[in-house]
Subunit: 254 residues, 2 copies
DNA sequence: TGTTTTCGTTTCATTATTTAAAACGACATT
DNA sequence: AATGTCGTTTTAAATAATGAAACGAAAACA
């Protein structure tokens, strides 16, 4: 395990659970020696990625992580672009809307706009979404580089609910249906009782970089609604794609 | 130099300048060997903090940094709390408003709401603000742990404009005046022609965690305005402090 | 066009950093 | 008093990081 991997896993642990944690607690969580954990934390503190409360010695994520994220946003305004459009979609449909971005770690849920209805779907931020079991994942694979799907289907396909589809051939069909339709339909494959539709967010090269999804309680959705929601999510996702690539195309000099 | 420090400095370089950079370019910027730079980038890619464009091999900051920042925001909603209040203050005063947070690296500018006026002050995000030469720094020191000020005044006090005050005794007086007044006044100490007022943002323990500032072109500010702007920035900063800590923060003298 | 430079990548002996057990005093709890 | 846990420092040993060299491929140059 590289030193960098250790340091980052420490950051991830700091990001989960309690906002502030003790050294011993962190060392137990990541399973490094106390002395090692401390050395890593000190190095991260030097860089501003970790902060320590003066009195209680508790550690927490530092402002440096926000700084890096702001720098990234300045270069590639994903959140700035997608959030207002997702909010408009949530307002229009009345349902929870969330979007995700793909990385080497998988498809990461990065923002959620919750429905104002009492009976709504809660989606956690920061979670890695399984490609085969979510509407977002299917929509993403349908418009991503082909190798992404092959890699995903070669891995072990976990089952999350009694409705999860884990047969590779069946998933291939869902993906090509989504490709033809422009959006995917997810029926309780990841969380019971949750129905969703999702459309890809496309990057500069025309391949998917993420997905936009609407999630609603199964009970509220009638078949005719699916088409309307699908069309809405496709339209909003296209808007995001256009704004993202439109601004990014020109910027290469100096 | 620790491996962690090297990895983070690579991230910082990726955050500056062009959105995407080549390996050779990055290696030159951070002054590591090409092989070393690549190894670090691969490790960071594994963790999702760096991404690489499939075709062009260009590197960029990854979604992982946004993810860490979102986790931090979930634990300590600094941006979520401060941005709307800063925007309201900018709308009310018509001037540029920005706020900063303190870390081991110093006082970091984290968000700016630009004035809508043509003649406005531009403040870069992500910059480290010198404590002795900015209104934000003075306001922060006035309500921070005493050791922060002592450490700051023991360092070499850089001069940025002909108006920069570098005499430790004079700075101490500015700080105690700010403490008594509740806000600080900065007169072109960091950038020529920029006038500003700032108030501390207080954390859970009642000490400063950052500062909120209004920055305006010197020409637009008349002495009577100072008091009104000062009162406004104090009010907004207190609002942020209160929402952040959940309880009523006492900004008064101890 | 052929030539030269620069690129990303891999290898591997050398070097430097990282590791973790042990021991410490300071607290808290029993 | 006694016990457990905390953060911290120190060390030799283990391990990861390093960078010069070499490679073909692609760009840049002539």
């Amino acid at each position: 395990m590289s030193t960098v991997a250790k340091a980052v896993s420490l950051l991830e642990v700091l990001g989960q659970g309690e906002p502030e944690r003790t050294l011993a607690d962190l060392a137990r969580s990541v399973d490094f020696d106390k002395a090692t954990t401390r050395r890593l934390l000190l190095a991260l503190m030097d860089q501003g990625l970790v902060e320590q409360d003066g009195g209680s010695r508790l550690y927490r994520l530092g402002i440096g992580v926000a700084r890096l994220a702001l720098m990234r946003e300045a270069q590639f305004p994903f959140l700035r672009t997608a959030i207002p459009i997702a909010e408009a979609l949530a307002a229009r449909t009345g349902e929870t809307v969330h979007f995700s971005e793909h990385s080497s770690r998988g498809l990461i849920s990065v923002h959620v706009v919750e429905s104002s209805k009492a009976n709504r779907v809660a989606v956690p931020v920061g979670e890695t979404l399984p490609l085969h079991a979510t509407a977002s994942g299917i929509a993403f694979m349908a418009f991503a580089d082909r190798r992404v799907m092959e890699a995903a289907l070669n891995a072990r396909l976990a089952s999350y609910t009694p409705h999860t589809i884990t047969n590779p051939m069946a998933i291939r069909e869902l993906v090509s249906a989504a490709h033809a339709r422009g959006y995917s339909i997810g029926a309780q494959g990841y969380e019971d009782g949750v129905f969703s539709v999702a459309a890809p967010i496309l990057g500069a090269r025309g391949t998917a970089v993420g997905a936009l999804a609407i999630a609603a309680p199964r009970a509220r959705i009638e078949p005719p609604d699916t088409e309307a929601l699908g069309a809405a999510v496709v339209e909003s996702a296209s808007q995001i794609s256009e704004r993202l690539t439109g601004r990014r195309a020109k910027a290469a000099n100096d």
